[in-house]
Amino acid sequence: MQQMEFKVKWGMVIDLDKCTGCGACSVACRAENNIPPMVDASNKLRTTDWMNIYELNNGKAFPHFEVAYLPRPCMQCGKPSCSTVCPVVATTKDEEGGIVSQVYPRCIGCRYCMAACPYHARYFNWFDPVWPEGMEKTLTPYVSARPRGVVEKCTFCHHRYNAAKEQARQNGTDPLDLPEDAYIPACVEACPSGAMVFGNLNNPEHRVSKLAATKYAFRLLVRLGTDPQVYYYSKRDWVRQLGDNYLQKELKGGEHV
């Protein structure tokens, strides 16, 4: 399928040299997007964490050991592996901004998109959502509650994009030319470490596009051809190397990432 080009391309740069893996982004995401709490979250293959945090390490022994924390939102791929396979057009990449949509009332729950996504960014509602008594009163008006049997994923807090556009219309400015920081997702807002930057990758003035252009920026699994809109940033070679798969001989050249 033809890759759509957008005037605005929302993107994120996550500085892995700053992220402490504290988990605030993940909780903020949960509250913002009405993801119900889980009593037993010990089976991580069954939990829903739109912003999942991985622990990476350099594989060396003490004391040369290092770790890095990698928060993983939906990559909002330029060439999504998920939306092309959906049989019922429940997930698409068709809106200005390049955010991959997920429409719960359309989804039939076949989970083909989950099989397709190598980032595990998609989550299935295995049961109907349950909030402890009264806690449903804290649901935000931004994202509909999902019934069982549908797939969900990070949307870059798309409702905040909508809100920013409404504000722009109210102010009489161009909703497609939002100033930097007029729209940022809840995770980026919450991050205490300043590790996350959000903006329009197509706007050279935005910090994201500047950071994404540096030699320390990398993306996950680009060799597969997914063309993600989420960038990571690290000055540590080993961290960047973990962004994609490399054969031994490829690593020797040093020009791998």
Binding site: T47, L56, T84, Y112, Y123, G149, L242, N245, Y246
Partner: protein, 411 residues
């Protein structure tokens, strides 16, 4: 009117009491499966062992396997009605019923497997024409309808039903148009067998199953068609043999079985030839292109070792292929059946690794392997479909004239 008068003419069947006891035994599995289905539909798919890593598991493996094995229906129909291989008339009815059971069973499983079965019709109303799964939904439902149309005249041929003139004529007319349905079935079936393979072949985020650029994009399309027609006839033949074993009666001549074995063998050779090239090209082309090695695709600690590969390609691939094309082997029933079983097992393994192992492999370098083992909810419902197959087949065998040679062979 005695129950005996519903039997096909000139054949013996077991006592009604014994038959009912047999149905009762089958019903145990049906009831267990119905309970599982009730839990799945009533509370959610969370009652299974599926998870966000293994969104596909036993159910999809089961579906793909029975659809592959059910390919005997369309392919036998194709050979019988289009290629005019007359010998196959002795087994074509069985092939149709097996096919019908496989496809209808797969659809029942799909009702459980999709999270929102009430919206299943969205596949028709809001189709994504780029999705292989859309093609699968279209073709499977259409082909299932074709199989129903092929199955109906068999029912109408029941001794008592056929006394009704309308039914008799209807059955006759169906038979007249059977080549047409066989043609449609062949077309639909080939397409969706291919689409099922294509479903995996297009997953460029899954290095284990992704295939491109070799013959034509995505070439799993053709490999799935080839593997289905290489195992379908063998499975149909095994079904006949299994029924003979249970009923103690001869149903299909050994000549016909040998022919089915030969057909399966030739196709299996064809399939294995390309499958081996495919595996080689994948390991040496696609994987390195993604920065991965062949070894990284296997991990025996989590149950996904290379044993599966050896089983699939060698023990259940090359070996049965050689056996089935060797006339001396086909002459010996035990070896013929063994080869056919290996053939079917190999295809099931293929569908299993494509479905489950593909998802178990970590793609992000910092990700990890995970194991999946189906739980009672998946086993019970899958067994329910098997029991459903036994139920329909038992009734069909008892009351429908599906084996034209039966009278002669048991004289």
């Amino acid at each position: 009117m005695s129950e005996r008068e519903f039997w096909p003419e000139g054949v013996e069947r077991c006592e009604l009491g014994k038959f009912l006891a047999w149905l009762g035994f089958i019903s145990i599995f049906l009831l267990w499966g119905l309970y599982g289905a009730y839990k799945v539909l009533g509370t959610g798919i969370g009652v299974t062992a599926l998870d966000n890593y293994f969104g596909f598991g036993l159910w999809i493996t089961f579906d793909l396997a029975v659809i592959a094995l059910g390919a005997g229906a369309f392919f036998s129909g194709f050979l019988r009605y289009i290629m005019r291989i007359d010998e196959l008339k002795n087994i074509i009815n069985l092939a149709v019923i097996v096919g019908f059971l496989c496809y209808s069973g797969a659809m029942l499983i799909l009702v459980l497997d999709i999270g929102q079965p009430l919206r299943a019709w969205f596949g028709y109303w809001h189709p994504n024409v780029h999705s292989m799964l859309t093609e699968v939904i279209f073709c499977i439902t259409c082909y299932c309808t074709v199989l129903i149309i092929e199955y109906v005249p068999l029912i109408l041929e029941n001794r008592q039903i056929a006394k009704n003139r309308f039914c008799h004529h209807l059955a006759h007319n169906f038979h007249v148009y059977m080549p047409l349905f066989a043609g449609i079935g062949t077309f639909l079936s080939t397409f969706h067998q291919g689409s099922l393979g294509g479903m995996y072949g297009v997953l460029f985020g899954r290095p284990f199953v992704y295939r491109e650029g070799f013959f034509i994009w995505p070439w799993t399309f053709f490999l799935f068609v080839a593997s289905a027609i290489a195992s379908g006839p063998a499975f149909t033949m095994l079904c006949a043999t299994f029924m003979e074993w249970i009923t103690g009666r001869k149903l299909v001549s050994y000549e016909t079985k040998k022919l089915m074995g030969k057909i399966a063998g030739l196709l299996l050779c064809f399939y294995m030839f390309f499958k081996i090239i495919d595996t080689y090209a994948w390991a040496n082309g696609i994987l390195p292109g993604m920065g991965l090695t062949f070894d990284q695709m296997y991990n025996s600690a989590f149950g996904y070792g290379k044993t599966w590969l050896w089983l699939e390609l060698f023990w259940c691939g090359v070996i049965p292929a050689i056996m089935l094309v060797t006339p001396a082997v086909r002459e010996r029933p035990a070896l013929l059946y063994l080869a056919a079983i290996l053939d079917c097992v190999g295809i099931v393994i293929n569908r299993f690794v494509f479905t489950v192992q593909a998802l178990a492999i970590p793609v992000m370098p910092f990700d990890q392997w995970f194991s999946y083992f189906p739980n009672w909810a998946e086993w019970s419902t899958s067994l329910m479909i098997v029991a459903y197959g036994f139920l329909v087949m038992s009734l069909s065998y008892r009351y429908l004239p599906i084996f034209p040679q039966e009278r002669a062979l048991n004289r």
